[in-house]
Symmetry: C2
Subunit: 301 residues, 2 copies
Amino acid sequence: MTASRLIALDWGSTRLRAFLLGDGGEVLQTRQSNDGAATLKGADQYAAALAALVGDWRADHPEVQLLACGMVGSQYGWREAPYVRCPADAAALAGQVLKLDDSISIIPGLVDDAAQPDVMRGEETQIVGALALNPALADDACLVLPGTHSKWARVKAGRVTGFATHMTGELFALLRQHSVLNRLMPADGSSPASPEAFLKGVDAAREEGALSHQLFAVRTLGLFKQLGPEQLPDYLSGLLIGHELAHELQGSQPRVALIGDPALCARYAQALARFGQPEPLLLDNTAPAGLWALAQTMNLN
Amino acid sequence: MTASRLIALDWGSTRLRAFLLGDGGEVLQTRQSNDGAATLKGADQYAAALAALVGDWRADHPEVQLLACGMVGSQYGWREAPYVRCPADAAALAGQVLKLDDSISIIPGLVDDAAQPDVMRGEETQIVGALALNPALADDACLVLPGTHSKWARVKAGRVTGFATHMTGELFALLRQHSVLNRLMPADGSSPASPEAFLKGVDAAREEGALSHQLFAVRTLGLFKQLGPEQLPDYLSGLLIGHELAHELQGSQPRVALIGDPALCARYAQALARFGQPEPLLLDNTAPAGLWALAQTMNLN
C-alpha cells in the first residue's frame, strides 16, 4: 500500500485529537472533540465519535488508514490492545498493534513489570515521536510527560527500559476542587499565576518532608496570611511537582526532555532549574510524529 | 462556683458531641448530632443547634456551665477563639479561654510556630484529657490522634512542645471517592476488611518511594489482579498511613499513645508494629476528660 495519507488519532480519556498527515508525516489538518474514552461505551459510540470528527476525511480518502493510541485501547476502551513489556522499542510496539478492522489499528500500551508494575497508554507513542524528531535522545535520556498522570520514562539505545507514573495532576485537581484546602482559595481559574508561590512550594518539597504533612501548609500559610488566597493554588502545584522531582531526580540523571502542554512543561522546567538541573529540551505533543513513525515501521502507508 | 455539673461540648467540623458530666467528671449522659461547625453559619444557627441537642439539660440545671472545644472556635465557627503558642500546657489553654457569654466558653486552639506553621482545634483538649487520665504520659510521649487530619504531638514535662498535621484521612476519602483509583474498587462500604492488603500497603510505604507514584499501584495491582477489587481500599489505607508513619518515626521516639476512634487506632497500631514499634497505648475520645480537667483549671465548676 502506498496511500499518501494517514489519519493519526491521539485518543485519551478526556479528548479525541485527530491529525490528517500527508507525505512525510507533515500535519495537514488538526481537529479535536471531547469524545474521550472515559465518556464512551461500546463499539457503536466509538465508531460514531470517529465518524463525527473525521468522517469527511475518510470519505475524501477512501483508502486511508487510521492509527490510534491512548485509552481507546484500554480495557474500558473500544477494544483492549495488549501491553508490550519493557524494554521495548518502536518495532516491538508495531509488532503488537491491534487490528480493529481493515482500516483502523490501535497501538499497544507499555507495561513496566517492576516490583510496582506500571502502565502507560498513549505516552509510548509520544516517546516514539520524540525519538523520531530528536534522534540524539535515543541514546540515553529521561523523557518526562507531565499531566494528570505524569510519566518518567528512561530511554537507552532506542528502547524504553522502564518508567514510573506520578498522580501529580490528579492530586492537584482533587485537592484544588474537593479538599479543605479549597476553602481559602479563589474560585477555579480566577487567580493570576504566582511564580513566587510556585517556587516556594517547590523549595518546601526539596526539604523532603512528608507530602501529607506539607500539603497542610497550604491551609496554614493561607490562615496566617503568609500567602494570599490567589497564591495558594500555585503553592500547591509547586509542592506536588516538587515532590515528584525530588524522588525522580535521586541519583544521576541523563538529559531531561519534557513533552506535552507548553504551559505545564514550563512549570516543570522552572522546578527543574530549582533542583539545579540543566535546561531541559521542550517538546509539544509528539503523538502525531509517533503515530507516523509507527505507521512506517508497520508499512501501513 | 461549685456547680456539680458540666456540659462538655466536643464540637468539630462534622459533629457536635455533648457530654453531661457529674461530680468528679464522670460521664452521666452522651448525645450527638450532625450539627458540625462546617454546616452552621452565624451565632443563631449555633445557638439553635445547641438548644436542640442539650436544651433540656440546661433547663434541668440552670446554673450549669458549658465548655466547648473544636472547630466551633475557628474563624468560620461561632466566634473565633485565639491560638495559644507551643510549648503550652493546660494552664496556658485555660488562661486564654474565650467567654462567649456568662455560661458558655470555648477552649483556644494550639499553634506550632515552626517553619511550616501548624494548627489544631479540639485535639489540644483531647491531649489534656489523655494526660489527665494517664499522668505517666506527661513526662515524655508522642500522642497521635488519627483522623481526617491526623495530629502527631510531642509532650514533654506536661507541655505540648510541637506537633504536625498529616492530611491522611482526607487524602484517603478524596482518592477513594473521586479519583481514577475509585473505578476498580467496589462501592463505598461494601467490602470486607483485608488486613493483608493493608499491611502490604504499609510495607510498600516503608520502602520510602514517592507517595504520588506509589498511589498509582492501587490501579496497577488491581489491573493485573495482584489484589482483588475489595482489597484495594485497604491497600490505599495502608499506603497512606504507612507514609505518615515513615516520616514521623524518623529518629528516636518516646512511647506512642493513640487517641480516637478504636477501629482507626487499631489500624495505626498494626502499622506501628510493622515498623517495629512497641505496642502503643490506646485511648478512646478523651475530649470529655480534657474539658473536665480544663474546667477545673479554670475553677469553672
